[in-house]
Amino acid sequence: MADQTITAIWKVFITLSIVTLAEVLLGIYRPEFLELKLFSGLISLLNLTFILLTLYKAYCIVWFFMHVKYEYSNLRLTITLPLYILLPYLIFILLVESSHVREILGL
């Protein structure tokens, strides 16, 4: 049973569980010191924590469960580069535009 792959799988599972548990606890109790607004009110420290933890979980799933870590760099870059380039662009454009729309509509 001392199979290395299987040990690694359970390690990733435990990591994912702990991170999820932390997210849930933060989500329920929402500690007041984490409600501090950052970047001129754009995002709170709590939400930034949620996003970073989510990205970490995504990394664990894609790298270990989906096996990307062990693929050739050819394949790894084919899959990840379009996302690295397109997603920040999409997020930037939409979120900037939404505050613009908000100003125009005077909401």
Binding site: I6, T20, E23, I61, L75
Partner: protein
């Protein structure tokens, strides 16, 4: 095999007849599909972010919307969604274990782990159905004004960050009680002098302003659908139905694919073929479904 492929020059590698990516055609195409699907979901979620930033003041609080737990009722935010998340993560783990057993050609272990994966998918889908049911049925009900905005009935609950915190109270009757008419709701409101009114931008009006608010009233709203939403803006319900619905459809497809592979494992198709690669491809899809849920969970329920 890896050492062998790395030993030949890059030029020979890309000239054809080999697998420069180190994976079969089918697996590569699964990856390309996942890439396009990931961009689709990113589009949905950023569109959600767009609307949410646009209507930041009047967006419903996730904690107020999803607080039901089976057998316990309302008032427990996050618990049930957290359970759903664990179910999906665990079914992802059993899927990796099944794929690993497949690589070692251990048929019985594949059967066991794949069965657990399908079970997890089933539990997740039923949980989601249950959650949709409660979202559609509604909870405390609300008043819709002529401009379309929603007014909630609230009571002060405590203090937080130096300001009062409110909790919603139900004036429309519990469970299967018929939704009241406007005059009935107004009478119920007048009979409860402690109840205050929370309007569109989350500011709370005292009970004495009830007459002015009810003069603007259009309808009593209970539950959520694509047109009206008792929790706040209808856009929230639209995004919720569309994104979790699209994700649920992916889970459903995943369970279906897993079932087909499961039957083939039982029939010994992959033993005869000599490898369990089909299981790896379906496994990739299943992990992707889990991956999407991780983001849906964050953006719909946590933030």
């Amino acid at each position: 095999m890896q050492a062998h492929t790395q030993a030949i020059s890059i030029r020979t590698l890309w000239r054809g007849g080999r697998r420069p990516m180190g994976v079969s055609y089918g697996k590569l195409m699964m990856w390309i599909f996942i890439l396009s699907d990931a961009l689709t979901f990113s589009g949905f979620l950023t569109a959600y972010g767009f609307s949410r930033f646009e209507f930041a003041d009047s967006w419903p609080e996730p904690d107020e919307v999803f607080s039901h737990v089976p057998l316990l009722g309302g008032g427990y935010p996050m618990i049930y969604v957290a359970f759903m998340t664990f179910v999906l993560i665990f079914s992802s783990v059993t899927m990796v274990l099944a794929v690993d057993a497949g690589r070692k050609m251990l048929k019985n272990k594949v059967v066991l782990y794949l069965f657990l994966t399908i079970l997890g998918g089933g539990v997740f889908l039923s949980s989601q159905t249950w959650e949709w049911y409660h979202f559609i049925k509604g909870e405390a009900g609300a008043l819709q004004l002529k401009d379309g905005s929603i007014v909630h009935f609230v009571k002060p609950k405590g203090m937080r960050n130096g300001g009062p915190v409110y909790e919603k109270v139900s004036l429309v009757g519990e469970g299967r009680a018929a939704t009241p008419t406007l005059p009935q709701l107004k009478r119920a409101f007048e009979a409860n002098p402690g109840v205050q009114l929370r309007i569109l931008n989350r500011s709370v009006l005292p009970h004495s302003q009830g007459d002015a608010v009810f003069a603007q009233a259009k309808a009593v709203v209970r539950g959520a659908n694509l047109v009206e939403n008792e929790y706040g803006l209808p856009q929230f319900a639209d995004f919720f139905f569309f994104i979790t619905g699209f994700h649920g459809f992916h889970v459903f497809t995943g369970v279906l694919l897993n079932l087909i592979v499961f039957l083939n494992v039982l029939l010994g198709t992959y033993e005869r073929r000599g490898h369990y690669e089909m299981l790896e491809k379906v496994g990739l899809y299943w992990h992707f479904v889990d991956l999407v849920w991780v983001f849906v969970f964050t953006f719909f329920y946590l933030i």
